[in-house]
Amino acid sequence: MTPLLNVTGLQRHFFVEGKNEWLADKKILRAVDGVTLSVQRGKTLGIVGESGCGKSTMAKLVLGLIPATAGTVEFDGKPVTAQRNRAWRAARRHMQMVYQDPLGALDRRLTALEQVTEPLLIHEKNGEIKPAVAAQTMMRAVGLTDNLFTRYPHELSGGQRQRVVLARALVLKPSLLVCDEPISALDVSVQAQVINLLDDLRQQMNLTMLFISHDLRVVRHICDEVAVMYLGRIIEQGSAKEVLSHPAHPYTRALISAVSTPGAKHAIAGSGRIILKGEPPNPVDIPTGCSFHPRCAMATAHCKTSAPTVTRLGESHTVSCHLHAMIHHGSAS
């Protein structure tokens, strides 16, 4: 089966001003630096990583909202470009996005119903069902009650706003939904509701999802596969169950050990809590060798000079680490 979404060698570099703007002191920020991944139809891929590792840039690249520096994105067998022509606009109905900040993503001058109706007015002017009726159906499906339809964004709660954003994204029945940290702006009590809603909807609508998050518990709950990003690269990838229970990369292990789980002592048996040293390095100045080596407790001299290649560990589990054999074996036993 061909995957719905196929990303190959995707790169996005930004030019940033150096300290001296008169001397054209431009530096390259490698936000996304050679990402290859694919998502099967109906599956959910989680992308996890710290802030600034390129997750949100990935989301925009996949949707063709910004042009890639190199590499390709293929959606349903067709290349996704960032040229905003008629074809690009028509393709929008098949790929939609849910945003991190629901209040910011809504036009404050429009009522909830108007926000959800708008995509239909763009793409289904001559549909069989009236746009407003279809929008109302979708809004009920995401759990918005009728009395909220005529409210403005500032009159809704955070969870209700995110439901409006979700309804707006799903009203066109897209095949791909990109969620960029959809719950990080919400209260914890509301997070669970929205996640469960997303989980239900993706099954009902057979959605393919790219789920970007830094919350591993949520990723474990909702994702079929996981890709762990560090400084614009995917350092470990595989089925969610495999990666989260048998992490092979020291960074993945550190992320998992940072999750506090009530009841359980630690997610990985036999390992203490791993605390990473320092901040992630500046993506303008990516370290030589393995980009994780300055923060890696196990780094050897080899890690500082040579970049690890992708190693296949199982049927659906890959990692980029020189020391994977030792670690993977250790965590499995």
Partner: protein, 310 residues
């Protein structure tokens, strides 16, 4: 909406009262009209008689009370110079002021707002830099310098247009041009920054990601949201223009409210200054009320909160 406008109106009345009271007091404390009008060499008896006949010898609060009572009877006092009704003098000057203000305001809007939108949509391109360079130049050049420059070029050197006066269309061209350069520059700058702020919002990206044409994104989502600060600035600008462009009217010897006020202040012609200030205040306050009303139309949050919380 109704309540919102009612509270705004009450506040407007208070503003007018404060301005009138302030002007009244300052004018009487800052110089003696008797000295100005009769000259400092006048015999003391003449000055005393002048003060008595204009009621200037009474305590300040009594004068103010009398002034307020007179206003409510529609009596705004008479000019100390020629005893003609003060409000009449001011009202006579209004058509001249409007003859500059209305075309200048229309041109400000027609040039400033599109220029700002254009610059924002082509941010950091050479076109943006060009528009903004003109805007900074127009903004920083004082109107008396610009006015004199225009007179030098078009009246003195080229002889195409008259340098001053008020008798026909060609006399209005230079003053309107002077007012337009500054006003359009200010509006262009505010429009650009307001548009840039809105264009950076996530809902603009979201609107584009829905599949809207970029022109539709701008028209349906960006412009209405960027309009609020522009309306504020345009309102203030309109109020200012109605109040009379003091400097420009003086440069071009244009017989409008601004020039009348300046000469009346110089002469300590109290009743005329007060009448002019009252009119200016009322027009400024009225413009602000209008802006508040327009705000309600553009921003549903105001409409709702005005209904819910007041």
């Amino acid at each position: 909406m109704g309540r919102y406008m009612l509270s705004r109106s009450l506040r407007a009345l208070l503003t007018i009262f404060l301005v009138v009271g302030f002007a009244f007091t300052i004018l009487r404390l800052s110089g003696d009209p008797a000295m100005m009008i009769l000259s400092a060499d006048a015999p003391p008896e003449a000055i005393a008689a002048f003060r008595e006949s204009w009621g200037l010898d009474a305590p300040l609060w009594q004068q103010f009370w009398g002034y307020l009572l007179n206003i409510f009877h529609g009596n705004f006092g008479v000019s100390m110079r020629d005893a003609s009704p003060a409000m009449g003098l001011v009202l006579e000057a209004i058509p001249a002021t409007l003859a500059l203000a209305l075309p200048a305001f229309a041109l400000n809007l027609l040039i400033g707002i599109p220029a700002g939108i254009f610059a924002a949509l082509h941010r950091n391109s050479w076109m943006d830099r060009l528009v903004m360079s003109f805007s900074v130049a127009g903004h920083t050049l004082p109107s008396f310098v610009l006015g004199l420059l225009l007179v030098l070029i078009f009246a003195v050197s080229l002889g195409w247009l008259p340098s001053g006066g008020y008798s026909g269309f060609e006399h209005a061209v230079l003053p309107v041009l002077t007012l337009t350069v500054g006003g359009a520059a200010v509006l262009a700058r505010y429009t650009r920054s307001s548009m840039l702020e809105v264009l950076g919002q996530p809902y603009i990206r979201a609107a584009s990601a829905k599949g809207l044409r970029w022109s539709q994104v701008v028209i349906r989502h960006a412009l209405p949201n960027a309009a609020l600060p522009i309306i504020t600035i345009a309102g203030l600008m309109f109020g200012g223009l109605i109040a009379g462009a003091v400097v420009v009217e003086s440069v071009f010897s244009w017989p409008g409210v601004g020039r009348l006020t300046v000469s009346a202040v110089g002469n300590r012609d109290l009743a005329v200054v007060q009448a002019a200030l009252l009119l200016i205040t009322v027009s400024m306050v009225a413009t602000n009320l209008l802006v508040d009303a327009i705000y309600c139309l553009f921003d549903p949050r105001l409409r709702a909160s005005a209904g819910a919380h007041q």
